[in-house]
Amino acid sequence: MDTDKKFQQIIEQLNYIRDILAGKNNENLRLLSSRLEDMQSRLPSMNQEERLAAAESLDDLFSFVEKKLEAELTPMDKVRIVRHPQRICLRDILENVYDNYTEIGSMNEHSIDPAILIARAYITRRQGKKTLRQSVMVIGQEKGHGEEIRNGGSVKPWGNAKALHYMKVAETENIPIHIYVFTPGSYPIEDTPGAAQQIAKNIYEMGSLRVPVLAIFSEGGSGGAEAVGLADKRLMLSHGYYSVISPEGAAAIEANLKESKRRAPAELIEDCARNLCITAEDNLRLGYIDEIIQEPVLGARCHNFEFFRQLRQDVLRATDEIVLSVRGIEPIRSMSLRARRKKTSEGGLNLETVCMRWNLSAAAQERLLDLRHRKFRALSQKAHDDTRGRLQLFKDHLSSFWWEFSSYFKYDLFRRSQQNFSNFLRELHSETTFFVKKQTVPLRRFLRPLLPLFRVRRKRHLEEAKLTALSTWEEPQEQRGGNWAYVSPRATDDRAISCPNAATHGCLDMWAPDLFGEFAGVCANCGHHFPMEYKWYLYNLFDPESVTEFNTGIEAINPLKYPGFDLKLAKASAQTGQKSSCMTFEASINGIRLVVAMFLAPFRGGSVGAAEGEKFILAAERAGKKRYPFLAYVHGTAGIRIQEGTNGLIQMPRCTMAVRRYIDDGGLYLVVYDTNSYAGPVASFLGCSPYQFGIRSSNIGFAGYGVIRETTGEAPPPHYHNVFKAMARGHIQGIWDRRETRFNLYQAMLTMGGRNLYYQ
């Protein structure tokens, strides 16, 4: 009987290998299956002992071949390992790594979202007689070995909201958070509050969680991973993947399969998986994870108890290290950290027997946040080109220092004393006028009856003139009557244009020169906004001649050497004259200076990569130092630039944290969406702003129609991403007419924002 079971296991193992190789014609696999078949055919004629021996030899052969296969695993094989129902899942980890746990808010399908699992757990450590129970908040996606209710770990917006809620609980309780990332991506629906909006909120809040956060990545699928994955330390399982998009998704885009139901060929998917650099080694090399946790051959499965033991050690060590890196006084802190690292690596330290508390003092919390921000700030520096010369860099550094320094004097020190001084003057003035009035009473009493004789005639004449003569009008608004500083080149076609709402609103066709000229691309009847060039905004939103661009030297590159992408970049650059899709500049509106990061739809769909992220962060920092309002004008963005892989994806937390710092320092961060804004950027540094506005007729959302249909199996209704829907969901705070954007921006700067704006 024992051998039957053994054979059964071997058959299952063979099936597993077959699954992972996904029908690829593999010599080793053929060898294994033929040997197994051979053995099985001879089995009835064997006695017990022979059977045992046969099983053993087969086992040996399997182990040998598996090792060989392990060395040859392609990135796509790893994707299949991670997605395999036998792959360890979060519940297995809770059972095997922690000593005790309670699930919070879920009981199989009875959960707000069965794809997310939250548990309070503890690990017991003993040092001598001392026993220490170390509580942690465990949060992660549960794939449930392929249970349908889990949606494969694809979390709905409210699931992510629940995750955030319990992160905040952990913060209150001052216990570390252990995040396990097991998600192919977020569930792409816009039901309140919307996937993008919730992920943005999560990242924004996680940037400043005041407790240690440790993340372990098994399956890190783009936005879904970032929704929980912002951590002080990020470990990754050796067979996991961490990617901006699924290889299938990338292949579909590559093959341009947008709306059709055809699937991309398998080879293309394999290529994409490789080109996207999604494996643990890739991500370690790029710096987006800190360490790799070695898994058993062909990936960790439930029965690999040795692996769980290892995982427990790694989790303990990583959490200890986060705590140690911020606790105590600086020289001692680093010394003890170094000593520990040495000891553990030599294998001399059993972490089970080291007692260490994981709660943090207020000062340590501050250091934790500072470290976390610096950690992310330093990422992806090699993934863009910086053509600013040494001299320019030096100048930039110098002026950056000067802004900080002068802002402090101008707005903090000087203004406060100036206010005191002017208060003093005002009081002095009122005192003296009172005194003077009192002294001159007799004189004025004598003069009063005579005064009108001199004055009235002259005054009458003057007043009448004021009512009937031409007055001087110093600033007639340039834009009165559709007199725009920039007019779309489409305004030269002699043709009529139909409004898409004509059937429902009875709009008449408009003449292109009227529509794209004077009407600024707005239907005169229903107010539908036709998309306009970004230059329209550049020249019509800001005071004339006030735009000065900076950091033009930071340029988008092809950091992963993604095949064919250099050419595409060069083409985008030639078409637009830009070196990245993000243009950063200073400008003014009615005299108020502000910093603007503008995402340009014509450059690679306004996609965001490392260069765009870096420019955005530098702009936010500049705005902070100069105490300017900061505007993100999204002329359009298709999402994160997939060809940059995790280099692009990591901009989600990076930029969000920069914005968070800026807002916490009392700035005003405004976001204006135009045309179409989707995916990563909306689900992070754009969507996190408390003041987001949409230009009419724009679309805002997480995923496009095709992706939604593919993932959820249902086509969303028309106008699903429309700006009015986004407003109803609570995503944006207002809808602006294009022609009134300048006025509305000015109004926003006057009425919104924090305490540290230079003009307030």
Binding site: D494, A496, I497, S498, G506, D509, A715, P717, P718
Partner: protein, 219 residues
């Protein structure tokens, strides 16, 4: 009492409706080459009627090519082939099409006989007053009630607007017969109202149509 059976039989005797497809405005016409008498065309479809109907013709005016698509599933009876390639005036008949009445249409025909109809007192454009308009547009059908003397419509004619109150039995609006910006002749029905005591009868009509009228395409 309404004799539903008789009415249904009457409709069944001539179950087709023929209508003209007109040029919405002037321009140079090009009829779709697939269009011929006897060809079947499809109206807007999809879960939200978001997929456009079959292309019937293109009308080009001021360098703007506009597609004219089938408004509903129907069969082309005749088409104005001579006009293709020439300049046509607004309102020119492009084709005539017929379709078998759908269940909804049959129901509407019967309802028009069963409901209390409030008629347009004069030729004009009619609108609901804004509060009612919002209700009619945003609430589920058959949920807006009216009472005798209620301020209900705005009449617009000669560039002037005045209000018109509803007169008739209290009840619920079951059908609206006027559309935005279209001119209604005096005496044509504006709304169909179902008084509470008629609900049962109306439900019966609806049920009978559901069971007795076969949709085209059903066995």
């Amino acid at each position: 009492m309404l004799d539903i059976s008789a009415l249904l039989d009457e409709i069944k005797a001539s179950p087709y409706q023929e209508s003209s497809i007109l040029a919405p405005h002037s321009g140079v016409l090009s009829l779709s080459p697939d269009l011929a008498p006897g060809s079947r065309v499809q109206g807007p479809h999809g879960p939200w009627k978001e997929k456009p109907g079959t292309l019937l013709a293109c009308l080009e005016r001021e360098h703007n090519r506009k597609e004219i698509r089938a408004p509903e599933n129907c069969e082309i009876v005749s088409c104005n082939l001579e006009a293709s390639g020439t300049f046509v005036e607004a309102g020119t008949v492009l084709a005539r099409a017929r379709h078998k009445l759908s269940r909804e249409e049959v129901l509407q025909i019967l309802l028009k006989k069963a409901l209390f109809l409030f008629l347009a007192p004069e030729k004009a454009r009619y609108y609901f007053i804004p509060q009612v308009d919002l209700k009619v547009k945003n609430s589920p059908p058959k949920s807006v009630s009216v009472y005798n003397g209620m301020d209900l419509f705005i009449i617009s004619r000669m560039k002037r607007e005045s209000s018109l109150s509803y007169s008739g039995p209290d009840g619920v609006i079951y059908a609206v017969y006027f559309s935005f910006n279209s001119n209604m002749e005096a005496g044509s029905p504006l709304i169909g109202v179902c008084p509470p005591d008629m609900v049962r009868q109306i439900e019966e009509v609806s049920l009978r149509v559901q069971t007795e009228w076969q949709e085209p395409g059903e066995a």
